[in-house]
Symmetry: C3
Subunit: 154 residues, 3 copies
Amino acid sequence: MDLELQLAVERLHAQYVHALDSDQLEDWPGFFTENGRYRIATAENEQRGLPLPVLSAEGRGMMRDRIQSLRHANIYEPQRYRHLVSGVLVEKTSAREARSTANFVVIRIMQDGDTIVFATGRYVDRIALPDLKYDERVVICDSRRFDTLLAIPL
Amino acid sequence: MDLELQLAVERLHAQYVHALDSDQLEDWPGFFTENGRYRIATAENEQRGLPLPVLSAEGRGMMRDRIQSLRHANIYEPQRYRHLVSGVLVEKTSAREARSTANFVVIRIMQDGDTIVFATGRYVDRIALPDLKYDERVVICDSRRFDTLLAIPL
Amino acid sequence: MDLELQLAVERLHAQYVHALDSDQLEDWPGFFTENGRYRIATAENEQRGLPLPVLSAEGRGMMRDRIQSLRHANIYEPQRYRHLVSGVLVEKTSAREARSTANFVVIRIMQDGDTIVFATGRYVDRIALPDLKYDERVVICDSRRFDTLLAIPL
């Protein structure tokens, strides 16, 4: 077991969620390689092999565009999100790549204090080494019901 | 502090919850030693010293039986579970055994998307070394209210 | 990356939450340095730079007093709490100090089994080295709505 790699990947996941939870969405593309891919899928579609992502982005450019539209669309964003990541499994598949699977839960806190479990699922990642950037992050959500206004990265 | 043991135990806990959350229940007995013991108890009964487990199994054979009945009883299992494990304390008590305490939360996601905090509590484990198998896993739940249909391992 | 420090801080956070969740509140001041500071704030006030903590204590003496009043006020405390800590970032700022940021979620379980997400937010800590005691722990809660009876440390 590679202790250093394990903790480095856990740290990457931690920095990622702190950026999102602190509403530093402009930092989000920087967690990916230049051509990195991101998609949100449902567990149901993944199991059936349906390549129908709820949301997807290829490359930092597309991610930046997405965040920009998001900023223009939501002048006022009253809710907060809080991510928990747990059960991080890491495997080094080559000198240039590690794979990771981890459970996540996202809590949403509305301005009036109303708090719900917003999303749960698994992060399934391919991570470029030694840069420690996501070459692919697939967010597999347990629920197939999505808020139609779902726009923020998970 | 034994860094390697700490991360090895965290990895064991992670593999355990990923098996359950991926519905690979047939893998569950393999996380235990041949005569390993598993029980679910309530915090209230544990405090009072009442040896009344909600559910218990001794040895892999009994665990396999349990999973088999579960598979036969539930032809169709529409809900999903997502485990979070946190605050993993590990102590090496001998060359052959480590003890671990950790907090857990299990979220249940119904097919219609309805999501609840299903169970919370502590895992209190005796772990056989160097095999890293549970010799005893006690799941101490905070709530004393149990779904009468509770059947899946936690 | 300092693996040993990372795991030592995670262990400190773990021991802290296990003490609270096991209702060993008398152990709480011992996690701080003699003059350690603790406060609960809202994310909103922190962002606006308003120094209005929901609750604060300076030094172990004040913490002990707080726990004592709490014990006298609540003869019977039927609810339980379960903390999850995740995304622990650690940075060594000097030979005598580390800083840490981590996400937390606290679940409250009432005696009738009713379970809610009680509080979410971030722990922002200054930790004295090599003692591994909190010199300052700021609990920044996402919600600005607080139970008026909020009395227990988070």
